[in-house]
């Protein structure tokens, strides 16, 4: 079989069994704490908002000057001015800037880990993973664009030269979430930039300080001014304004299904002054299921489910939120899962032992708690734990005897809440797994080649994991993204991603003049 990206080396995660690596994170945390309440500015100041530590809401990580519509419009005009020269900058140079940005992130790795821990409540290894992924996106898209840049010659007939090339679209928007505060925005920005577009970057308000670091990293790497415009502020203001804007060519969005669908709708309405159809690259939610087969290795399945469901408090679009267990294994599985969930440590992410930390905001905390109340009415509570009062903690929560149509088995909760269901056989398990509006990730723990084959064929997800947890996709190895209402089928970190930021162009030149052509002469 032809292996793609065999030589692409992902940025290695840190080996925390080595003392020096642990020490550097502790040092970075201490350093950063002395220098908090960072000031974050867009191009020109507007109103102000704060980004806080979810484990300690008193601790202000950054004060953000928010953009309003007027500033946004100005940023857009500035970006437009730069488009021509950036689009004509050789790919080699654009790619080099990405690679340099990767190096900047690498150099700042420990500081960035510390910042993610404090601003977003990311656990140490989660934060490290996020930065590695960001670096991977930069390296990978740089490499991909160098390949895509080469015009492809089509057909071999004489007298005519047919070429197929890709051109940038124009100025676009990147709207990013807080849950992978560096990797996701870096991925979207890098893809848009390396393909020759200019970018208006609207980060989540909950990860403003991380977002600012991204902008600084691109700047440090030599990205020409104006190509990337930083627009901190409210999605309801800037996002809405830009999604409708006739001068915007594309919108790269990662976030909730609700906002994603709004953007798709807004973008679809062509304005009077608009000269193009807007492209939306949207990655939305998931309601990801894990199937535990009758012959599954339970040691593996339980650790995988626990990490998938509660890692980073379940705030990943790839998080495991449903488990479907074959009845032969059901009792044993829930018994062991329960004890396992009772054993994990709930603590702020600064604590390197934290398995479950605070969720991102008060609003998120309240929403998740509401779902837990619904779950209690619908099904049976298996695990709920005491959590610290300070900070936005929500207990890792498990429900059993959940029915496929229950609210907690259908809606994305984006928190540490897990619904366990029973299935009589593998076919039924697959049917339940496929029975939601989402199709992002899924996992199967099975040692039956036949059932694995069935899952490969019929488990409707963008990323299927076999005997592995449903989270943790790696650039190039596991291009990430889903379909149905999980997304538009764009796969970040894969071979098709960059294409969505470009318009293909076919060039046909008649090379025969006066009866001769390059082939005959």
């Amino acid at each position: 079989m032809n292996i793609l990206y065999k030589d692409f080396k992902n940025e290695p995660i840190l080996d925390f069994s080595k003392e020096e690596n642990r020490k550097k994170v502790f040092e970075a945390l201490n350093k950063i704490k002395k220098n908090l309440n960072r000031e974050i500015l867009p191009l020109i100041s507007g109103s102000r908002a704060q980004s806080i530590n979810p484990a300690d809401p008193q601790e202000i990580i950054a004060t953000v000057s928010e953009c309003d519509e007027k500033l946004t419009q100005k940023a857009l005009e500035e970006a437009e001015k730069k488009f021509y020269s950036w689009a004509h900058t050789p790919v080699k140079k654009r790619a080099a800037i990405l690679k340099k940005t990767a190096q900047v992130l690498r150099n700042k790795k420990y500081d960035l880990i510390a910042l993610e821990i404090l601003e977003c409540g990311k656990q140490w290894m989660e934060a490290d993973g996020d930065i590695c992924e960001a670096i991977d996106f930069l390296e990978f898209y740089a490499q991909e664009m160098e390949i895509l840049e080469e015009p492809r010659k089509l057909g071999g007939e004489p007298g005519q030269n047919n070429l197929y090339v890709y051109k940038p679209k124009g100025v676009g928007v990147v709207i990013s979430p807080w849950n992978f505060p560096i990797a996701i925005p870096v991925g979207m920005i890098a893809a848009a930039l390396v393909t020759g577009n200019c970018v208006l970057f609207k980060p989540s308000g909950e990860s403003s300080a991380c977002a600012f670091e991204i902008v600084k990293a691109f700047e440090e790497a030599g990205l020409p001014q104006g190509v990337l415009q930083f627009l901190p502020g409210k999605g309801s203001v800037i996002g809405k304004y830009l999604a409708k804007h006739p001068k915007i060519h594309f919108i790269a969005f990662t976030g909730s299904k609700e906002v994603g669908l709004e953007i798709i709708e807004a973008a679809a309405q062509t304005q009077e002054s608009q000269h193009h159809v807007k492209k939306v690259i949207a990655e939305m939610g998931g309601k990801n299921a894990v199937i535990v087969d009758a012959d599954a290795d339970l040691d593996e399945a339980i650790t995988g489910v626990l990490q998938g469901a509660f890692g980073y408090q379940g705030q990943k679009c790839s998080a495991t939120s449903r488990v479907i267990v074959l009845q032969d294994n059901y009792e044993k599985f829930i018994e062991r899962l329960k004890e396992a969930a009772l054993s994990i440590k709930i603590a702020q992410a600064e604590d390197p032992g934290s398995f479950v930390g605070p969720v991102i905001s008060k609003k998120a905390q309240e929403k998740i708690k509401q779902y837990i109340e619904i779950g209690k009415k619908e099904s049976t509570l298996l695990v709920e734990r005491e959590v610290p009062q300070k900070g936005f903690f929500v207990s890792p929560t498990i429900f059993i005897d959940v029915k496929p149509n229950h609210t907690i088995a259908q809606e994305e909760i984006f928190g540490p809440v897990l619904a366990v269901m029973k299935a009589e056989n593998f076919d039924e398990a697959l049917k339940i797994a496929n029975g939601t509006r989402f199709a992002l990730t899924g996992a199967v723990f099975s040692r039956s080649p036949k059932n694995i084959e069935k899952a490969v064929k019929d488990f409707d997800v963008g990323n299927l994991y076999i005997n592995q947890k449903s989270t943790g996709a790696q650039v190039a190895r596991q291009p990430f993204g889903g379909f149905k209402l999980s997304g538009v089928g764009s796969k970040a970190g894969g071979p098709d991603y960059l294409l969505q930021f470009m318009n293909p162009k076919t060039i046909t030149e008649k090379t025969m003049r006066q009866g001769f052509s390059p082939e005959t002469i």
Binding site: E339, P352, S448, P449
Partner: protein
């Protein structure tokens, strides 16, 4: 050839000659295991399917499941099985014959497991233990458990270890006195001896949470050490994956420093010669013992997770912690043996290997470092290399078997490791007893 090397050659040739009169269970083709492993060594595809099947087998609770799995694993176009294996396996999938063939297959797999795992529980194993003792071999007991995914399971493991010490202390006193097993050069040594895995005791152990992992694991081990101190039992901390290596060392040293255990002379740790780090770790351990005035057991092994370490390092793009050349591991084993023997005032050596060359080197070097024959111990795995053990017993060496006890499901990981180890191309046992490699090549100084 230097004098010492000559002595090693002489000793090892003799040992090999004596051993080759017999055949270890694993390679005995009279038995199903011998036949099936023999074929697996010839056909990689079959080996992969076979080991995967053995891995899943204990979780198959119904005959229907067994049947469908055999079909899925072995009824494949691309697998060409010799007729005796085909018939045995496929009979289990066909209507009429399956009623007979499935029980036969179950029996065969259980037999295979029983070669390496001595019983489902201590009660079960107690007869075996005495039998082993009567054949002139001491033991260290390992409890095979499920991976501890919760604190409940970890506490269960801890309780089992404490009970194990109790039970051993009731069992062993009635065993017959045996000079070479009961004494080292300094005096009487315990008959009770156990081997403990830290990952079984702390379900939340994780390198990133280093300090807390150390302190919590220590809390878990303390009662075991306490019981061991009370009942006169040796406790080894086994060495697991590389990710737990530094933790294991820290935990061990930190416990040794506690005043409660200042008089506990029966603690030991395992070091793996396949790791590039180990020389440094051993030197640090020796310094530690020197400074703190301690004497501990060190069991020197090559390492049981060679394949896995490579895979993990590969997946993470980490530099590989293990040597990639078998000879480098063997050479390192000899280097570390020497370092241990040079420091036998701080380290009580146990050489755990089935490799005649590696053992002979340690035995001869011990003589040159004024360590009496009873000052060292040879350790091997139960169910392996029986002929070598027998020969060494007849030479008067103290042999200790590593005897696992536990049920089949949680024992699978151990069983599969043993099957891998025995059938690996690089395995000394395979080369000696299955491939019948020439003596010169088997016994030559590694790296020469």
């Amino acid at each position: 050839m230097p004098k010492i090397e000559k002595e090693i050659q002489e000793f090892s040739k003799n040992l090999l000659a004596q051993s080759r009169n017999q055949i270890p269970s694993v390679f005995n083709k009279e038995w199903w295991i011998g036949k099936i492993l023999d074929f697996s060594m010839k056909d990689k595809n079959f080996k992969l399917e076979l080991f995967r099947f053995i891995d899943v087998f204990p979780t198959l609770t119904t005959n229907a499941h067994i049947r469908s799995h055999i079909e899925e694993y072995f009824k494949r176009e691309d697998l060409r099985l010799p007729s005796h294996i085909r018939l045995g396996l496929l009979a289990a999938t066909e209507g009429l014959t399956s009623t007979l063939a499935i029980p036969a297959l179950k029996k065969n797999i259980h037999h295979m497991a029983k070669i390496f795992i001595s019983g489902e529980n201590t009660q079960d194993a107690s007869k075996n233990l005495e039998k082993i003792w009567n054949s002139g071999i001491a033991c260290t007991i390992d409890l095979l458990g499920e991976k501890a995914v919760s604190e409940k399971e970890a506490l269960e493991h801890q309780k089992n270890y404490i009970e194990l010490i109790e039970k051993l202390s009731e069992l062993t006193p009635s065993w017959k006195e045996n000079k070479s097993l009961d004494f080292n050069h300094e005096g009487r040594i315990p008959r009770n001896n156990i081997s403990v895995k830290i990952s079984a005791l702390n379900s939340q152990i994780s390198p990133v949470n280093y300090d807390e992992s150390v302190s919590i694991t220590k809390e878990k081990i303390r009662p075991i050490f306490r019981k061991a101190q009370e009942k006169n039992c040796t406790v080894y901390l086994d060495m697991e994956h590389y990710q737990l290596k530094n933790l294991t060392l820290s935990i061990f040293k930190s416990l040794m420093e506690e005043s409660e255990f200042s008089q506990f002379k029966e603690a030991g740790i395992v070091l793996q010669a396949y790791l590039k780090d180990t020389e440094e770790d051993l030197k640090n351990l020796i310094n530690f013992c020197q400074e703190k005035n301690k004497k501990v057991y060190v069991r020197l092994v090559k390492g049981a997770y060679w394949d896995a370490e490579q895979i993990w390092a590969g997946l993470n793009n980490w530099s590989c912690p293990v040597y990639l050349n078998k000879e480098d591991t063997d050479a390192n084993y000899e280097k570390l043996s020497l370092l241990i023997l040079e420091n036998h005032h701080f380290i009580k050596p146990a050489f755990a290997s089935h490799n005649i060359r590696s053992l002979s080197h340690a035995i001869i070097q011990a003589r040159h470092h004024d360590l009496p024959q009873t000052g060292l111990e040879i350790q091997m795995l139960w169910g392996m290399a029986e002929p070598i053990k027998k020969a060494l017993v007849s030479f008067g060496y103290r042999i200790r078997d590593y005897v696992p006890i536990g049920e089949l499901v949680p024992g699978m990981a151990y069983l599969v490791r043993r099957l891998l180890e025995n059938t690996s191309n690089e395995s000394f046992l395979r080369q000696s007893f299955s491939d019948i490699k020439e003596e010169e090549k088997l016994l030559k100084k590694p790296g020469s």
